[in-house]
Symmetry: C2
Subunit: 433 residues, 2 copies
Amino acid sequence: MALVVIGGVAAGLSAAARARRIDPRLDIVVLEKGPVVSYGACGLPYLVEGRVREARELIVHTPEYFRKERNIEVRTGARVVSIAHPRREVELQSGDRVHYDHLIIAAGARCDTDGIAGALQPHVFTLHTLEDAERMRRFIREKRPRRAVVIGAGYIGVEAADALRRNGLRVTVLERSANVLLRDDPHLTAAVRKQLEKHGVELRCGVKASAIEPESVADVACDLVVVSAGFKPNVEMATAAGVELGRTGAIRADDRMETNLHGVYAAGDCAETMHLVTGRPTWIPLGTTANKTGRVAGANAAGSRERFAGVVGTSIVGIFGMGFATTGLSVEQARAEGFSPVAARIEAPVRPRYFPGARTTVELVADRATRRLMGGSAIGEEGAAGRINVIAAALQSRLRVDEFEQLDLAYSPPFAPVWDPLLIAAQQLIKEL
Amino acid sequence: MALVVIGGVAAGLSAAARARRIDPRLDIVVLEKGPVVSYGACGLPYLVEGRVREARELIVHTPEYFRKERNIEVRTGARVVSIAHPRREVELQSGDRVHYDHLIIAAGARCDTDGIAGALQPHVFTLHTLEDAERMRRFIREKRPRRAVVIGAGYIGVEAADALRRNGLRVTVLERSANVLLRDDPHLTAAVRKQLEKHGVELRCGVKASAIEPESVADVACDLVVVSAGFKPNVEMATAAGVELGRTGAIRADDRMETNLHGVYAAGDCAETMHLVTGRPTWIPLGTTANKTGRVAGANAAGSRERFAGVVGTSIVGIFGMGFATTGLSVEQARAEGFSPVAARIEAPVRPRYFPGARTTVELVADRATRRLMGGSAIGEEGAAGRINVIAAALQSRLRVDEFEQLDLAYSPPFAPVWDPLLIAAQQLIKEL
């Protein structure tokens, strides 16, 4: 039996490694179009920043490691151009054909710069691969740019803005929508704006950057441009082979990560997942989900039977040392999904007042009819990840705010106040309901 | 209508404040036997240590504040000696009688030194009230003790050991049982022992200190002794009035915090609560629970209808900068409760390997038959509180480990690794089941 995996980053290699554990005798081939595999793509902004000093620090394992230690064949520079499912074959750009019994498509996503004129100039970058980051780093070192424009205020956009600012550049972030971080949430946007501006980064929302001039974008002077907008799943090869997409435009897969084609699985940034708050498929491309869906696809492709429950859309991003964490739905998103959301937002210290400590902002959203929690956010220099994870666990457990308010959370002066900000927010939300 | 509250620290004042919010016209009297009210008792070790500089920093509100701002009469030095429920009266040591329609008993707990000979010597301390901490601080400043013995390795005991060591004393902790932190958990005890010893504090378990000599305890030389053992609920006055106790020896209350006497409520360290993992009443005296049960008792005593769901036994303690957090049941505790526990314990970094960061130890316990999570622990310099809170939320939601393993937790390199240690522990536990 032969398993072919298209894509050698998070989802693809999680899938291959998991399949190997399940079935030691499977022939496993991973086809990666780029020159390296198994790198921490989420670390790229920190390579640009300089906190990660060498590109190789981001590389977890080499193809040699996979061959020797896992008996997995990993081919780099192996770009798949088509899938011939009736013949169970993929065709590479080189003309080679590789047979499969099971196929896992972990083709990822890309930053689509097609709609932006001038995107191929040497001072224009995306930040999606290790080569992207290395090229940007070299450019900064050699050309000493002074003003950067970042197009798109998603996670990578704001992380890139942070990294460039710390390298001494003046930075302006242009965002087409009214919101940052892909979340219809004016309060979150206001908080991010405040933090960016505090550290000298300008944010302009509602600005569509359709062309990159040699020395400006949308009338903002610049000598370096990062494009982190137009993110879309790599699905063209899959659809050409008959793989169906979902409403989100990403590959539709069941909870075993199998597509409509029997024996063909999808995982990672090219695939949809189930949103456990809305009960509808969603496309939220994140590293955690890539690893998890890869793992499930790999297990099932190797003959096991595992399922991926879905996501609640938890994420966190650090902006100049402050964590901005969100999960589930914002008020606006919940309303758009047909719920009747009610929210409470509080600011509270993260320790008793006799202990020095930062403050945190916590927002909780619940549905008025069912009182079920729909989402929330936690913003702060400390504890944002821990607090958003508690909300995420509550969403996954379908807790009502009344149950959430009863959570038995840890307290000790060096770690938390006796009323954790999460509970203060829940009490406030109960008052609003 | 008159509400009388016995006890003016966490539970009592939470109750009074909540009752006032519910019913602006209620007559509310709080009777506190000590000289001050409304102080952060959990901050006492940090007052001894010196991180909290002044006793008054621990005081949240004064009696004047309650009178003026909340219309609550708070009497200090008002020791209740008996409750005459048929007459709806409490009698004070002064001979005064105070009428009530509703009564809340928030009499707290005490460190019972009766079983220890020599406990009244001037170099022997408990660490339960603000006066205790101030007296110890003065003693350290004036007498310059060099060797301390701490009797009891519960939370206050280890915090006191930490505080004294940071004041330059040699410290030995004597614990009667085989375990620290009131948890039958050899791994936790080993981890605490390691951390204490790393910082020069000796821990001796299985040592019963029945007498304090002028210059030693159990053959350990010392010139300062802290007794933090023999903790028991203050129930004598309640039982004399006909209030029933539960199996734990604390006051039995229903989920409205009402005792067997109609209109008499109990809250805080003198009362039992429901343990949501075992389904049985428990006595876990902690500040969080005191505040919560006080709030519920106050609401109900004022005519509202609220309930306290119960606890899962979450706690955290800091020992020389490391957090030791536990929730639910250890393997040993789960077995004693009749479950068939299976545990997995992992150590993992709290960030991706290309980022500097500490490691954390996470243990999860599940029941073999139902796969339901029973408890867990998180130990580390970073993130212990956040991680234990996620486990606590899972316990309260009665999640199976298979559901826990699917949690959508936040990931970003500055905050967490792509596979959070919680998920690694869950994966490991699934393998063991």
